[in-house]
Symmetry: D2
């Protein structure tokens, strides 16, 4: 039987060689645990250089932990967090933001292609008065790349952050696919984050070649507050912290972040082109959303392609994700199959 | 200076004589505290007769407590609670459902005149698959009367409950203005609750003549579970419990619930008629929503009428609430002023 | 059948006339709800005069709410709260401090007759280093009067507060029986609170003659922070707030607080004297703890006296509480019965 | 400068070759994420064989996560969890049990050498009545090996579990150093767990040679309940789950668990023997507690030995931990230094 042609998620990917080697290289001798190792101690500096500004960075093992810990630092238990209805924090984290924050409420805000707009945010915030009875507007969370495979332009992020800050809200960016977005945009990592006003970023590496490594990167240093205590009591301070830090350092310093993202993006572009007018959203990262009809999905699955429905199974929409280590022949086969639908 | 003509909320009302007398009548001698008094011990029976079925009823002092404690019994910390965007639990309780449930997520569902529809609920529930990554659909919460002053018909509640139960969700009804709705509908209290499938009701008395008394009424007795423990640890088990129970008993047994509601409803009808085509929603309880323009609002306020804006202050929408003890002359004056706009 | 001779708790007491009249007097016309009424607006001033310093005071309906809301303002979710093993917050509130704070941990500290000592607190705090792995010492909570019916002297409170403040902890006082303690001590209410260093007090009125009224009184105004939001989302902001505020005002302004406490204390003194060497703790409020043996308890119960065991039922310890409205003949009968054991 | 002679913690250890190789071996191709990979799917079977009974096992990355997730499944938010004052959950997890459970309360119970006894537990549970006002006894948590380096005998665990179960409590075992205890005892892993009545075990591998891998192992399958949802919303469901499962499989299947533990234990034995009468607790795992006086600690540190104070720095107590990969020459040097004090 032939190997599965998996386009389910970039979470199915393997670990890239640069990162596996870094793990092995860190594996010598006794090192102080819980973040006092030399690898962890370099994180702020290395990520600071990467982003071009001073940062405070904290390693965790999952994206849900990164997002929720970040948001719990921005929003009080009676706070409101504004996000897109498709946001990972709203639909894919089993209520984690409510858990970590102690009850903060998600307020959903529609926007085309998975993006919030400054105009819609302003209208929503201006439309409600804040009293002791309401949840207190606290944070905006945007995804870069979005959950629909699109990328915010720097000016879009800037406009959103201005509205948010004007209203006293902080801005979080879920960067589970940050490298894919930045690589697509061709901009500097700082251009869509701190230069545009983002206060804290969940900087994902796992999907793009790491084993289990994400960094919560604070650009607004005043918001760090009690982050380390919250991370510890959530069980997200890894004891042998050198191994997660080593992944993040290798990811950035070896250039794997860009190489892996560039490859995945390029494969997604091919798929998007093959999908033609069946494409539902612009392909600006490594995800492709298509409407191939229920019959189209069946025929793709019959041909051995694995992917997730997008929306109700009976609909024709599907999500196709290209991983950094996706087999090129599988992509070619998929393109051919799409073109034939 | 003349007395304020307040149409802010039925929370501004006084306590009706039947209830104040019941409080005084309960005030003799030493009675066992924390719900083991003779008044509390009659609650199940008296409310059971009121609703025409066996119930378990628990007294608390506020509507937010009633709603949140009820919902925390229906939804786990990773649960989803479906409600209208205008629901009191979503916009007026400072995140209480998230607090009491330990993080359950509110999912908003649009509907005309403040009502959810069975069709919209079915579409939403069918449109998403439930996995370990998603919040788990747990409860639907509807308001009777709604936050826009309308009342669900028994058949509407029945249809909603059928969809909810089919999908494994329980149904909560926020009855802060339950008496107003039932009085308007002219139906039996059971017709829009347990007979229609409602599992638990926040049965409000405070707005309609009590001092501070609401009952969480379980029709689905299997859902009571650990309610008493949750009430206690939330500080909502009153020590001198006879006084809150006495309010609820008097409210029901004296018929004050219907008399008070009927009067407030009738006053609201007059206001609604005076508003004519400026009316935004049908008047089916004791709240009137009008669009009188920003200038209209200013002129009403200049004439001494107090009320809340509905939506942004710059809009023309206003909410006018008639209380059970509203001064009839104030209502007449308001009707005249509305007619003159 | 003769009336029950109840010495179960001061929670069994009725409402004193001064307070019931104040409730009735507040019951006229429409008043703005949720704390913007004239009664609530006088609370800060009246309690400020009572304590002899500027305060911020917030009314709630239960002691558990008062304690937990106060503590949640002093301790973060990863904080440690130090208290006596017998503290109400530790044994009688069903985990409320953990709920309201989002998980703060109670650390118990032994002390004779229900009192913490400065020495023991210092030893405990000095004995542990605080790291990212430990809960963070945040607050000390003491009860005045204590759960064993004793009263802290001003110097004892001062010494405790000094140790607490030196270590960066805030001090909460559970004053469910505050009037009883102050009346026994014969001191000014400020002497055992702010002058001694207490930051926030749960000022109880319910047990001593109110219907359902407690005030959270902040002496350290900087600690008020988001108290109002936390109260609201916990369902403890009463809509018809005038009625709870009116109780507190009457309690203080009519002098009922001292009259009621003085009577209850005097009755407890008689009981304590009758108990003689069977007394377990000094009687410094309105509670009497005795060891009358299992047989003694049985004979008291056979004679119609109601009271709670203290500790295991098989032990001989019992708690006898005198309420402000206790029947003097019942007290005399109890004294005679105790003397006869 | 010579290499640090670290006896700080077994968390400082490296990853053993068997486990690093297993990680590398798992690193090929695209695998379904979030626990649907072939490695994770073998966990129940492999750990079931290891323990000699049917189990449900869930991988997480940290011991704090394992403990807190397990306890949150055993204790409701208003539950009481009984543990030793030195328990890791009580002193080293920054309040995690309170966070994950939504507020459950830790109740501490003294016991010699870090062990709870059945007698003390019975006395505590029998001494308090359970009412709506108290936290509800829910779980007992014991550490194996204990935090003081001792190991419960099978009969001791059995006796504790009998008392716990008789009172309706479930039993959790914190097995961060489970391999060390079992190796010392020379018993079967089942003998001190399910055969003795343990309901759920935090089965630690990280300290004993893994990179970041712990398993929550349910022996009482009915307690699994919603564990997977709670793990997900806490951010502890790893996306590339094959890598954490591969660690656990290799740990058990290669025999590394026993080899590593045996080596660490033997080194600790040498240290304990060298300490002679300065030993504070029997050495029954890989930790050694000594009282060498403040001067003794200074001289050891001056000689390059790293370790933690146990208790206040000014005391003479120290903890010395032997890791699986500890340099034997460092151990010899430490023994010599101890003997010379």
């Amino acid at each position: 039987m032939s190997q599965a042609k998996r386009f389910l998620s970039d979470n199915t990917a393997s670990v890239c060689p640069e990162i596996l080697e870094a793990i092995a290289a860190a594996n010598h001798g006794l090192e102080v645990a819980y973040g006092e190792d030399p690898w962890t101690e370099r994180l702020d500096e290395v990520l600071g250089e990467f982003f071009g500004t001073e940062v405070r960075a904290f390693a965790v093992a999952t994206g849900t932990a990164a997002n929720s810990l970040a948001l719990a630092n921005l929003a009080p238990p009676y706070g409101a967090i504004y996000c897109h209805p498709e946001a990972h924090i709203a639909v894919d984290e089993c209520g984690a933001p409510g858990f970590f924050s102690g009850g903060a409420q998600l307020e959903r805000l529609e926007g085309e292609h998975g993006k919030l707009t400054a105009e819609a945010l302003a209208a929503l915030l201006d439309g409600h008065s804040v009293t002791v009875h309401t949840v207190q507007p606290a944070a905006v969370s945007i995804s870069q790349a979005t959950e629909l495979g699109t990328a915010y332009r720097p000016a879009e992020v800037t406009a959103l952050c201005e509205i948010a800050h004007t209203h006293g809200l902080h801005v979080h960016m879920d960067g589970a696919r940050f490298a894919n977005a930045v690589t697509h945009l061709g901009c500097h990592p700082g251009d869509v984050t701190w230069r545009a006003g983002v206060d804290v970023l969940s900087f994902g590496a796992t999907k793009n070649g790491a084993m289990a490594a994400e960094a919560v990167v604070f650009f607004h240093l005043g918001l760090v507050r009690d982050f380390e205590l919250r991370r510890k009591r959530a069980g997200h301070l890894l004891s042998k912290s050198r191994f997660v830090a080593a992944q993040l350092l290798a990811y950035v310093e070896s250039g794997a972040w860009r190489r892996n993202a560039a490859r995945a993006n390029a494969l997604a572009q091919s798929i998007g082109e093959a999908a033609g007018k069946r494409l539902l959203h612009p392909v600006e990262a490594n995800e492709v959303f298509v409407d191939v009809g229920a019959a189209g999905k069946s025929s793709l699955r019959a041909a051995g392609f694995e992917f997730y429905d997008w929306g109700p199974p009976a609909s024709g929409a599907a999500r196709l994700v290209a991983s950094w280590d996706q087999d090129e022949r599988h992509v070619e086969a998929l393109c051919a199959a799409l073109a034939a639908i």
